[in-house]
């Protein structure tokens, strides 16, 4: 390799390393602040921003979904199997919203410790399978 090419290669490697280190530092420093994302456990320990929106993520507790009487509101419980938070929401739920499935809700904590969600997003996992396979897996779990 000629000296000029070597010099250019070293220069480029330094640029890549510099950018990589800068990006890594930036992302580590802002890791918690990029998104206000809280788990039910953190919320139960009062570790959440007050009077502003944040994201609450977890699983929808089995059997917790209910419609409130005389209104369009629905209530369900979001859990991380350590703590529970009751969420209230008015609107259309996404197709993948199921009990026992992951969910991300965006909203504020009310003074009565109910999370008032403005938006409810369903989180899907990476598993895809035909219904028959899912049925077989289901019966295997039950047996």
């Amino acid at each position: 390799m000629t000296p000029t090419r070597k010099k250019r290669l070293i220069l480029i490697s330094l640029v890549i390393m510099g950018v990589a280190v800068a990006t890594a530092i930036f992302l580590t420093a802002f890791k918690d602040n990029i998104m206000f994302f809280k788990s039910p456990t953190e919320v139960s320990q009062n570790d959440y921003p007050e009077n502003r929106s944040f994201r609450l993520g977890g699983m929808v507790k089995e059997g917790s979904l209910q419609r409130l009487e005389n209104s369009l509101k629905i209530q369900f419980t979001v859990t991380d199997y350590g703590a529970d938070v009751t969420v209230e929401y008015e609107g259309i739920l996404p197709d993948l919203f199921r009990e026992g499935q992951g969910v991300v809700t965006i909203g504020q904590m009310r003074s009565d410790n109910i999370f008032a969600a403005e938006e409810v997003l369903a989180k899907h996992d990476e598993n895809y399978m035909p219904p028959e396979v899912a049925d077989v897996l289901q019966t295997e779990v039950q047996q």
């Binding site: 998104m35 996404p94 197709d95 938006e119 409810v120 996992d125 598993n127 895809y128 399978m129 035909p130």
Partner: protein
């Protein structure tokens, strides 16, 4: 061994690159078309529905291959950018600039199909989460590489070197896209296909098959389109060389 070395040197020189790749275009296009038609029919009609998403999941047969291509093509651009910057190879410059619009197209397709799927499934078209934001940045990087290049239209070689620098710096975005769903709490699901295997993901062959066929089809389409564009790029930038005028006298 000598043949490989000879081939390597031939591919590095614009006239023989132009001559050799000329024979590849037609087979690549035919393969791309056949595989796309087969993959789409297989994916849309023969693959079974998903146990939770029903038929909506079928957009994955376009979305996932497009997403793979958006990153694969950027990787090619980054590597040819390094070669163009360090070794000043004209063919590397051609490959880099020919790839950029194709990569941008696949990135836009990824974002679009993802949004169309996200509305019914997640409940929103767009969420500023790590995966989506980093993929959007990838689109801006493609546009940046093309923009820098066209800003220096008086000297294409200098323009290509500057574009290469932008492309190389942008390489850092690739691992961020790849691991965004693991490093941050993201609404986007993790990878369904992994070379290492594992217990989750897509295990059903009739679902996997159209996905892999489409992944191959997009690769062939990229090769066809990129070589086509790279050849015109070389003709344009080498227009004063004797090999270019010879091409037109022969034909």
């Amino acid at each position: 061994m000598n043949k490989i070395v000879k081939f390597y040197h031939e591919m590095g020189s614009p006239p023989s690159f132009y001559r050799i790749t000329g024979h590849w275009l037609k087979p690549l296009l035919i393969l791309a078309l056949l595989l796309t038609v087969y993959g789409l029919i297989d994916g849309l009609f023969f693959a079974p529905p998903d146990y939770q998403q029903g038929d909506s999941y079928r957009i994955m047969f376009v979305h996932v291959p497009a997403a793979w291509m958006s990153m694969f093509i950027y990787f090619i651009i980054g590597v040819s950018g390094i070669i163009a910057f360090v070794w000043r190879m004209k063919v590397a410059e051609a490959v880099m600039m020919a790839s950029a619009p194709i990569g941008a197209l696949f990135t836009a397709l990824t974002l679009l199909t993802g949004m169309l799927w996200g509305k019914p499934m997640w409940g929103t078209y767009w969420d500023w989460d790590a995966r989506m934001t980093s993929e959007l940045i990838l689109l801006f990087l493609y546009i940046g590489v093309m923009g820098i290049y066209s800003a220096y239209d008086d000297d294409p070689r200098k323009a290509a070197r500057l574009a290469a620098l932008v492309a190389i710096i942008g390489l850092i975005n690739l691992p961020i896209i790849r691991y965004s769903v693991e490093w941050w709490t993201s609404i986007h699901q993790g990878a369904s296909i992994s070379i290492m295997g594992g217990n989750s993901g897509i295990k059903e062959w009739s679902m996997l098959r159209p996905l892999l066929v489409m992944a191959l089809a997009t690769k062939f389409y990229y090769l066809y389109s990129m070589l086509h564009r790279a050849r015109s790029y070389l003709l344009r930038t080498e227009q004063n060389k004797s090999w270019v005028s010879k091409q037109f006298i022969e034909n």
